[in-house]
């Protein structure tokens, strides 16, 4: 039966995230963007919400049940607080979810309990993206070569969050023989793995991301996600796209709400500017696009939950494309609504516009 109401538990989770986001996260977001980092205690508070352990089953050390829908609801709300914060808090999920969705039993038993039991935000990070004007998830330049009972991986990755701190990296590489993309679990300190530089991005500045070089990094065959069967890459990408869509909706909603409230208090020509159709119509379009993007995201997540073995490339791709466009449109309109004030960094809308622009470049940077 069709329904658009979250469960009570989901609503409670969203309320808890909103409370933290509205108070602590929003209060630090401006400075975090200027200073290129969130205070560790703010990241820690996000981790203590327990979102990821709650989506890991008990058999693997968690205390919940996996649900893509619950996770997109959480992701939207986290990003409503701040995108960089949301991505940092959700970062362990970019390893945990692929392991859960595609790992061997041994990999699940080894990795998931570590993450689920972590009291402080554990640094498990992901390396998928590569520098270039056109990134293709199916034509990676990072190559994995099978040599007997091990692999060697070479290439360069970009946008790797918290790479220096990461105790484990999930690196995606293309098989030199078959061309198939798999994930490889690489422990901290592996020989040939080198973090080269902190990147300087237009937005999400409070999320530290790095370039990472892999020079003939030698790995055991068991390091490949999914082992001999290989990695269910399409499925991982579908989950990642849907997660990014949810984050984009969160950014869009934040900007829409801010602009709406501003327009009701900003008086020009003797009335709040929201009473002018040119502003009111823009806000109405923004509201529609936020909701439309959210519906696309929910539907993709619902498909992932309801038909876990199906191919959800199209739904997740469209959800992400739609939400990315909507986020850019809505944040741009928010800056426009505030006019000159929107362009000043005292207001968050210009930051949200910078953050929203990234979604077309992002792949694999989040997971649900």
């Amino acid at each position: 039966m069709l329904s658009f109401t979250p469960t009570d538990e989901q609503q409670m989770l969203m309320d808890a995230i909103t409370k933290l986001a509205a108070a602590d996260v929003r209060a630090h977001a401006h400075d975090a963007d200027e200073e290129d980092a969130f205070p560790p205690e703010i990241l820690q508070k996000g981790w203590e919400l327990g979102i990821l352990p709650a989506s890991i089953p008990e058999a693997y050390g968690g205390f919940g049940e996996y649900s893509a829908l619950t996770n997109v609801l959480a992701a939207e709300t986290l990003a409503w607080g701040d995108l960089a914060w949301a991505m940092a808090v959700m970062l362990p999920a970019t390893v945990a979810n692929p392991v859960y969705l595609s790992g061997t039993e041994e990999q699940k038993q080894r990795i998931l309990p570590q993450i689920a039991a972590a009291e402080t935000l554990p640094y498990f990070s992901t390396a998928l993206l590569e520098a270039g004007i056109s990134f293709d998830t199916h034509a990676l330049r990072t190559i994995a070569k099978r040599e007997g009972d091990h692999y060697t991986i070479s290439g360069e990755k970009c946008y790797v969050p918290f790479a220096p701190e990461a105790q484990m990296l999930l690196v995606y590489a293309q098989d030199s023989e078959t061309g198939k993309v798999d994930g490889y679990l690489i422990e901290r300190g592996a020989e040939g793995l080198m973090v080269t530089q902190r990147e300087k991005l237009m937005g999400i500045r409070a999320l530290p991301t790095y370039r990472v070089q892999l020079n003939n990094v030698r790995l055991s065959a068991e390091s490949r996600l999914g082992g001999e069967a290989g990695t269910r890459y399409e499925r991982i990408l579908s989950h990642s796209r849907t997660a990014l869509a949810a984050l984009a909706v969160g950014v869009a909603r934040a900007a829409y709400e801010y602009a709406r409230d501003y327009a009701k208090t900003r008086v020009q020509f003797g009335v709040p500017i929201a009473q002018k159709q040119s502003i009111a119509f823009m806000l109405a379009e923004m509201a529609i696009e936020v909701d439309a993007a959210r519906m696309m995201t929910w539907e993709a997540a619902w498909q992932l939950d309801n038909d876990p073995s199906g191919d959800h490339t199209a739904e997740s791709y469209m959800a992400k494309e739609y939400a990315a466009k909507a986020a850019l449109f809505v944040t741009d309109c928010a800056v426009q609504t505030l006019g000159g004030h929107g362009y000043i960094r005292e207001h968050p809308v210009e930051r949200w516009l910078r953050n929203a622009r990234g979604f077309t470049a992002f792949e694999g940077l989040a997971s649900i």
Partner: protein
């Protein structure tokens, strides 16, 4: 409650049945009816009448059995069912879909503000005999979006216990089918007090054959040519006192309950218009994809942006937009089924779908080149048909205004 996009199995089966009607009965007649405006889709009317008459009879039976609506556990599916029907039949042919023999908007008004006795009395005809139509007459030459400006008057004659209606209505969908070509009804909105604004607006049921009621001009249109859009002239038309719809509260002079009742019908009709728009858009998109595939152009998902052609990007954009509009429509309909207030969501869906069908069908004509523009194919017709959805039941702009007022919590005075 949990978020779910699951459509009940029996509604999916019903949609398959409607698809059969769309493909087997509507599509073959589409071009002919477009080129012979004001001729009727007889085959479609006949096919639908048997089904709809049966349903109306069952609904009235439930009403007679003392119940308003049957008590059921949880949410209903009535509105979901209607949007699925509107979408699928409009995929067939939106002009013919509009000729569905049913109470339609007259029914919505009667359901919204009529007493149980009035429902039985006025809707009974739709459960028996030959096909009949219901229609609603609101718009006037000087009152389009500004419905409170209507000039048609209703004056009570205590001697005969009748209302006397005078004025001119235009753009009445199915007006001619209801009043001249069947034993149908039209709900006419008239003012009992021009100085009272909305409070003076009341709905009157006018039956076919009422003296003083005449069908005026039947419009020649850009699209939906199978559907009649008629002017109705009311020249001292007399209707009995109990043709004024509603309880004592609606009927009394002061108060805007009657007008609010009219507005409430939009909560159900706007998702249907949105669904209809999406049906037309889907028809165009599917046809386009089929023709592109015949020409070796496939639509890849998940491919990097740089590898896509402009045409592939356009098609993905069309598909995304249609899907977004459809999900907003499902939400608006489902909220009504759950007993939730949905005026905001209904207008959102209507704005989005009206815009999307316009863009999608225009793009489909463009991408099919000289053949897209040709009347040999139906795409150019779908473009003309689709546009109506951005206009009737409140233009895109009026619905955007409604969305704006609701999200800003402004009255119609504060945001004009």
């Amino acid at each position: 409650m949990a978020i779910s996009f699951k459509i009940p199995e029996r509604l999916l089966q019903e949609r398959e049945m409607l698809k059969g009607i769309a493909e087997g009965i509507m599509r073959p007649e589409s071009r002919y009816l477009d080129e012979h405006e004001h001729e009727r889709p007889h085959a479609f009317i006949k096919a639908m009448w048997y089904v709809l008459r049966e349903e109306q009879a069952k609904a009235l039976q439930r009403l007679t059995n003392g119940g308003e609506k049957p008590k059921r556990e949880g949410a209903g599916i009535a509105n979901l069912r209607l949007v699925l029907l509107a979408e699928q039949l409009s995929w067939g042919d939106v002009g013919q879909y509009l000729c569905m023999p049913a109470p339609l908007l007259a029914g919505s008004a009667i359901e919204a503000v009529g007493t149980p006795e009035q429902k039985l009395r006025f809707l009974k005809r739709f459960a028996e005999g030959e096909p009949k139509w219901g229609a609603m007459a609101m718009t006037e030459p000087g009152a389009g979006s500004d419905t409170s400006a209507i000039q048609t008057t209703a004056t009570f004659d205590p001697e005969t216990n009748e209302w006397i209606l005078n004025g001119e209505k235009i753009f009445c969908t199915n007006g001619k089918l209801a009043l001249e070509e069947s034993d149908g009804i039209v709900v006419v909105w008239a003012t009992v007090d021009r100085s009272a604004g909305r409070a003076g607006m009341k709905p009157f049921v006018v039956e076919a054959g009422t003296p003083g009621v005449k069908i005026g001009k039947v419009e020649i249109k850009h699209g939906i040519r199978a559907s009649d859009t008629a002017a109705i002239v009311l020249d001292n038309a007399r209707v009995p006192a109990d043709h004024l719809l509603g309880s004592a509260e609606v009927v009394r002079r002061e108060g805007t309950a009657g007008f609010k009742g009219a507005m409430a019908t939009f909560d159900a009709s706007r998702p249907m218009v949105a669904a209809s728009a999406i049906g037309v858009g889907r028809a165009a998109l599917e046809f386009l994809k089929e023709k592109l595939a015949e020409n070796g152009i496939q639509i890849p998902y998940g491919a990097p942006y740089h590898s896509l052609s402009a045409v592939q990007r356009d098609v993905i954009e069309m598909e995304m937009q249609l899907k977004a509009a459809w999900l907003l429509t499902l939400r608006a309909a489902s909220m009504l089924d759950h007993g939730l207030h949905n005026s905001l969501e209904a207008s959102m869906a209507k704005v989005k779908a009206g815009k999307v069908v316009t863009q999608v069908t225009q793009k489909a004509v463009e991408l099919l080149g000289t053949l897209g523009y040709s009347r040999e194919w139906l795409v150019e017709k779908w473009m003309r048909d689709g546009k109506i959805n951005d206009i009737y039941e409140g233009t895109g702009q009026i619905n955007l205004l409604i969305v704006a007022r609701r999200i800003l919590n402004y009255t119609s005075r504060e945001l004009q």
